[in-house]
Amino acid sequence: MSSARRPEHIAPPDIFYNEEEARKYTQNTRIMEIQSEMATRCIELLEIPDEESRLILDIGCGSGLSGECLDDDGHTWVGMDISQSMLSVALEREVEGDLLLADMGEGLPFRAGTFDYAISVSALQWLCNKDKTVHNPIQRLIRFFTSLYAVLNTGGRAVFQFYPADENQKSLIMAQATRAGFNGGVLIDFPESKKKMKLYLVLTVGSTVSHSMPDALSDAPASTVSYAKRQSNHQRNKNDLRNRTAPKFSREWILEKKERRRRQGKNVRSDTKYTARKRADRF
């Protein structure tokens, strides 16, 4: 873990993700690229069996970057986030998903069996905070995981990319997920590199059959065939992103993407003059 101050230690999420912070999610290409890459990896780790569209919950959806990756794969999604500013940016970006202002630590406000899958990118560690004196992290974690377990269908899966502060926090999170009924574990991509290392919590519902974890990515020499295969898939996805003609996240880029989705016969919002406008353009 880097020695820089962690955002979770600076302010509660609804305060930390203010307008200024939220703007980075439309203007800082580096942040956007990293978030999209991790979202793509989360979706890959869902291991959705067929090509069909699914209804997917995005927990801590922020400005909708991960949602756009879900759109790319033809899925429908509902996003929830505790920060109004982040959701406002998602509205500006005209994301396809439906949005909710909600706190995952209060439990998810959905009927049982609503979703097949859930993803969450860089949000889960926020639950370990004690932002208000009334907050009890363990209680918030168990409330969250218990309600998530209920809203997922049997055979469903949830994948979280997250940044636990230390081993204790990681075990605390895993213990509460297990208590709620989930199977699964933590997968570490690029464990050999401090900079590239990413942690994914992979949780499944209902499969009592000993469930095998997907393979991690690594730049170290390949040890198995399946590893090599995954690596090349990942590489291919990355190349796809690079081959796009318009600069990533530009208005042209979004329009191109929408056009591609239309050609695939997917649900796409109509373009307006506001498509991909930046916040700075607004008065």
């Binding site: 209060e106 406000p109 069996g113």
Partner: protein
């Protein structure tokens, strides 16, 4: 907020609420945004939908003609029906309004199309 989302939402995270469903829907502003119709997707979605609740919702926000009051048995083959279902589920959006918990009367405002489902820490279990 699209009506399919309303169909999924509950207030059962609130203390002592047993079912918290359906949330009563009041709309001050409704928008219809056309979107691409995919019959297989709508068919796959329908088993998850509480049709009665969807019907009530269309009634309460001034789209009484949108769908029939009961679900068609052969909906997979009935394109006309699926198109209506698609329209009600994915094209009608509540932009401003509120939802109300059926058991406690707790209100959840909807602003700019986003429902505010936040409650206080002392309201939850």
């Amino acid at each position: 907020m699209k009506l399919f989302t309303h169909n999924m939402l509950t207030s059962k995270m609130i203390k002592n609420v047993k079912v918290g469903y359906p949330l009563k829907l009041n709309a001050a502003e409704v928008k219809v945004t056309p979107s691409e119709f995919r019959s297989t997707y709508v068919s796959r979605m329908l088993p998850k939908i509480d049709w009665g609740v969807l019907y009530e919702a269309t009634q309460s926000i001034g789209h009484a003609e949108a769908i029939p009051s009961s679900i068609s048995d052969d909906y997979e083959k009935n394109e006309d029906f699926l198109r209506k279902a698609h329209h009600a589920l994915f094209e009608i959006e509540v932009i401003n309004g509120e939802m109300i918990c059926p058991e406690t009367g707790r209100k959840f405002p909807i602003k700019d199309g986003i429902p505010n489902m936040l409650v206080n820490e002392d309201e939850v279990n």
